[in-house]
Symmetry: C2
Subunit: 320 residues, 2 copies
Amino acid sequence: MTIALTMGDPSGIGPEITVAAWQALRGSGPAFVVLADPSLVGAYAPMHIVAGADLGRFAETIPVLPIPLAAAAVPGAPDAANAPAIIASIEQAVRLALSGAATAIVTNPISKAVLKSAGFPHPGHTEFLAALTGTTGHEAMMLVAPELRVVPVTIHVSLRQALDMLTTERIIEAARTAQAALRRDFAIEQPRLAIAGLNPHAGELGHMGDEEQRIIAPAIAALRAEGIDATGPWPPDTMFTAGARGKYDVAICHYHDQALIPLKTLDMWNGVNVTLGLPIVRTSPDHGTAFDIAGTGRAHPASLIAALRLAAEIARNRNR
Amino acid sequence: MTIALTMGDPSGIGPEITVAAWQALRGSGPAFVVLADPSLVGAYAPMHIVAGADLGRFAETIPVLPIPLAAAAVPGAPDAANAPAIIASIEQAVRLALSGAATAIVTNPISKAVLKSAGFPHPGHTEFLAALTGTTGHEAMMLVAPELRVVPVTIHVSLRQALDMLTTERIIEAARTAQAALRRDFAIEQPRLAIAGLNPHAGELGHMGDEEQRIIAPAIAALRAEGIDATGPWPPDTMFTAGARGKYDVAICHYHDQALIPLKTLDMWNGVNVTLGLPIVRTSPDHGTAFDIAGTGRAHPASLIAALRLAAEIARNRNR
């Protein structure tokens, strides 16, 4: 079992959390190979160069598959000249996973602004990975924290656009993808899906919005007709309390912050992003490049460590 | 110091949490008089009849100012015939507070559906209290939990309507009301206001919605020009984490669930609703009538107890 860990933006916190994750996991695993410019890790820890998804002496030195940078990486000062290397690291990780040489990929944070300025056309990792694996349109994002799993039906769009995009079909698609992933990747045989309401108090029978009756309830009925244990629509403000969380395996949410506010409020540092609907296993830390603290030693590696552990767990579950 | 505690819906959990709150507070205070049909509390605890906001022997028996019910109260089975008594209890509490006989009012939960069927024209307590005190249009709701205070700019409307209603003026008005309340009622001399963004990541400079630039940032600039310590717009998903919460005294939120999801996720049972902008002090527990568990003994009195304590604290701060 080898995980391919991408470089991410070399001017963000990726290099330092990568080294910290290796220090935390070198004894216990899971083991990983870093696809990055050797200078990024070599300055902070012992490393050895590998040619593919080889681990070598993982417990003693960090395996690095070289992806050379065009410009020196300055912490906190991203450089669009390095966009091709950032992208190449992701492409190479996907190749290793598709070929079976790597059992999973974990991605360090990238900056959409940096990649966009270099002509990168994708909104983010998730869509790029879907394109690389030929599964565009079926990808979904699950956020996993120790106490909560959430899948947002709409993601990186304005709140108004999220309302316009919400359809019965989109909810059904996200719920089916979540159901399949919970069975295959999380080894939950009968997953329980809690479908959120959209409006305050889930609309109170149409008094405050009718999306619950018009869009969400039909999706729940269709899912139940397929044998999926979907319930709701639940009042959004009470479905994430400690008592409520124990009653479901995933919350299907309608917009970014309905999913992300409870998850990050509960646990800022241990959240993991899992991409569902891909042929490969992919997780990532649930935070950005954090250019503002890059190089200061203040970055927390907890989310990356959790992402590496979860990637290994999913790969094991898929190979049962 | 006497608090007037209203009856709420007599078929909900109001009577049982009232008795439980008296048991918790009879020794330490704050003391309160219950404005209700004597049968509601007399069945569970010793009580004595009073004619106004008299406390009598609060440590030994519950003071009850009688408001007779038209029909016997059956737990879990609300009866519109009791709507006049429910309303009279609120009106009487307001009279006691306006006259100075009571230092604050605390309201037990009501059912909007029950009151509506009896012709009650107000969306809820808050608007009714504003009408009774001649302050309609200036009322605002603050939710207070041990770790977080929030003020939603829009409240009981659909999410789509909340987007349509959001204006620079409404944000400014809510923030001014919150600022004044934090100084007068919470004794915070220089309140720090965190103004939420609306869209994912606060819009990422207009890439996902422009309300931050068009509506929210101008409100923050206007507030700062008035000398109010307002900051933002903050990304909604990271502003409620433990680290972020310590940096402000109140979060100004744009829609019901942006405020209520983090508050209830953090603390389901100790939240208190405080009405701002009224000439009287009013708090209430942050939950509904809970008809489904009324009479079963499963209701938690914690939120009502917290509401009584906070009402007393606010009254003390106002009288400094």
